[in-house]
């Protein structure tokens, strides 16, 4: 041990700065959130399971769905629309929804780990653990979407609505994914353990993904299902991303998606943060 040979005078702040003004509070919350975000991004890189989940899996979905269903799906599509063009914007939404189940698992694992106890005994922002996690997921979402676009381009996908349309499509999906992350954080704070979070996540996400316009147009569904799917925020998000990518009515689904996301985020963020503060 080198404990005896320390420099005699060791400057060490005795009191972490207490936020003195509302502006300072916001600043520290943002900084704490960023610190936790960096931590979670490192986690992605160091967990093979997550790397596979966020890279290979979406790529596989793009390729498999395009080739397996491409043949029959084109029948239901408007004249001249290739299935890959229809599919890829939908898959952005699908992969964002699936990924959010990993948000729940990651948070549930964190709660089982001792490190959150340390966070909670420190004078840091209470919301930072959740805000940092969802922000890291947002960063990852954007990276995965870019990856999916690259793979899509290799097998024939093309944006036709210009750069702004493409960016709009990506942003709509990112916003939707951000909402899903917060919803699943909130869910993870209510179930016991990571496995429960995983199961609950899939039970919710799977039907939601298929009961939407992600894979096929609603007109091909039975009436009762189409009626349900038409109300789904996943349908709005997929329709918006699709219209912004390859043309069609974009404004209405985009506004609906934004309304859903902003409305639910305004509810779920305070609920999740409050829940995080109270659970032990």
């Amino acid at each position: 041990m080198t404990i005896t040979e320390r420099p005699a005078e060791e400057p060490r702040p005795s009191d972490p700065r207490a936020p003195t003004s509302p502006a300072a509070r916001v600043y520290w919350q943002a900084r704490d959130t960023w610190t936790v975000t960096k931590r979670n991004l490192r986690h992605f890189m160091r967990q093979p399971r997550l790397l596979v989940f966020s890279t290979i899996q979406p790529v596989m979905f793009v390729v498999l769905f395009a080739f397996v269903f491409g043949g029959i799906a084109t029948v239901a599509l408007p004249e001249g629309t290739e299935y890959i063009d229809f599919l890829l914007p939908g898959l952005f939404v699908q992969s964002a929804a699936f990924r959010s189940t990993q948000t729940a698992v990651g948070l549930a694992e964190d709660l089982e780990r001792g490190v959150v106890d340390r966070f909670r005994s420190m004078p840091m922002s209470r919301a930072a653990v959740l805000a940092g996690r969802t922000l890291a997921d947002l960063v990852r979402s954007l990276a995965v979407i870019v990856l999916m676009i690259a793979v899509g381009y290799l097998i024939g996908f093309r944006f036709t609505q210009g750069v702004l349309g493409a960016i709009g499509a990506i942003l709509v999906v990112a916003l939707f994914g951000y909402l899903m992350s917060w919803l699943f954080c909130w869910m993870a704070l209510h179930v016991p353990g990571a496995e429960a979070a995983q199961t609950a996540g899939f039970v919710i996400v799977f039907p939601m993904v298929f009961a939407s316009s992600i894979f096929v147009p609603l007109e091909t569904m039975p009436d009762w299902l189409a009626t349900f799917a038409a109300q789904s925020p996943l349908t709005h998000a997929a329709d918006a991303a699709r219209a912004l990518s390859i043309g069609g009515e974009a404004l209405r689904p985009a506004l609906l998606t934004i309304a859903w996301c902003v409305g639910l985020l305004a509810i779920v963020i305070p609920l999740a943060v409050r829940r995080y503060r109270t659970i032990t």
């Binding site: 041990m1 080198t2 404990i3 005896t4 320390r6 060791e10 060490r12 702040p13 005795s14 009191d15 972490p16 700065r17 207490a18 520290w28 900084r31 704490d32 610190t35 936790v36 960096k38 931590r39 490192r42 986690h43 160091r46 967990q47 780990r113 001792g114 490190v115 959150v116 106890d117 340390r118 966070f119 909670r120 005994s121 420190m122 004078p123 840091m124 930072a128 032990t280």
Partner: protein
């Protein structure tokens, strides 16, 4: 409030379902003091620490850290304390250095300051070489050191150590003890829980014994030893076969832990007389002894008597301590 005691616990109760973890704890720790909280498994040590570091709300009662209530002024309390919990609270996927930098930034040090503190602490805690390996790959002792380092990025006025050396080998344990002593010398107030009496005796100014969720004794190690009675004459025979004969020669002897041990409790103020009486009786009976001596009860004796149930007030403490000493002899 510079003059408020470091810790004041007032009738704190906490139950988990049917389990009463804390059943009315009262405790005070002065600034600069080292309090050892000693108790067996399940006594409520961790629960009490978690209440004091704002991780658990007490059901009833209140606790104050330097005058600040742990429930209503939790964020102020968090600024004053450091915690090294029973289970290492470090991020397994991050390296030691990344852990310390992260905690430093979360303590609101600047990035540069956090990085510098991280390097210093790695050096000080003998982790410099392992600093860039994920904490997942650390041994138990390294993990504990990293955990302790993580609570020292800022200078806490009050540090909680929950069983800091459980499961460590003697070398790692004494390393933790050395660091702890340094912190105390720098003026940090310390609340330390332990199951090891030796640890409490070595490090603490004052010991509180907790069992079944409340404090059953409090004082210095010497106070506690006095509390359960005076000295004993401790006899170690050369030959275990002579024990029955020895018992006949010294009728008031009790059997000690090992098969060659005997013990005689000594009435207050009568130590030398008892020692010579016992020695003469053994010599007259031609019993060979390896060792006869006066000794005070160890903290182990205190601990077992206080927490163990039935030892009567007068009988000498029986415990594992004598067994341990025999092992050394």
């Amino acid at each position: 409030m510079p003059d408020a005691p470091a810790v004041v616990v007032d009738d704190v109760q906490k139950r988990f379902g049917d389990t009463v973890a804390l059943s009315g704890v009262d405790l005070a720790v002065a600034e600069g003091e080292v309090l050892g909280l000693l108790g067996p498994n399940g006594a409520g040590k961790t629960t009490l620490v978690r209440v004091l570091v704002t991780l658990l709300r007490p059901d009833t009662g209140s606790a104050r850290i330097f005058g600040h209530d742990v429930v209503t002024e939790a964020s102020t309390v968090r600024r004053l304390i450091g915690l090294t919990g029973q289970y290492a609270a470090v991020d397994e996927l991050l390296t030691g250095r990344e852990n310390l930098r992260m905690f430093g930034e979360l303590f609101h040090l600047s990035r540069r300051e956090a990085a510098r503190r991280a390097d210093d602490l790695l050096e000080r805690f003998d982790l410099a070489v392992a600093g860039d390996r994920p904490a997942r790959t650390y041994s138990g002792g390294m993990r504990r050191r990293l955990d302790l380092a993580s609570s020292l990025l800022i200078r806490p006025r009050l540090l909680f150590l929950d069983e800091p050396t459980t499961g460590l080998d003697p070398r790692s344990r004494s390393a933790i003890w050395d660091i702890t002593r340094e912190l105390v010398a720098e003026g940090t107030t310390l609340l330390l829980t332990t199951q090891y009496l030796e640890e409490a005796d070595q490090l603490a100014d004052r010991i509180a014994v907790i069992d079944h969720g409340h404090i059953i004794a409090e004082g210095t190690g010497d106070d506690l030893k006095d509390e359960i009675g005076g000295q004993v004459v401790d006899i170690v025979l050369t030959d275990a076969a002579q024990r029955p004969a020895a018992c006949r020669a010294v009728p008031d002897a009790d059997l000690g832990q090992g098969d060659r041990n005997l013990r005689v409790s000594v009435p207050a103020g009568d130590a030398l007389q008892a020692l010579s009486r016992v020695s003469l009786a053994l010599r007259d009976a031609e019993i060979r002894v390896r060792d006869v001596g006066l000794r005070r009860p160890t903290l182990d004796d205190v601990f077992l008597q206080l927490t163990g149930g039935d030892p009567s007030a007068t009988s000498p403490p029986e415990g594992t301590a004598s067994g341990t000493e025999e092992g050394v002899a």
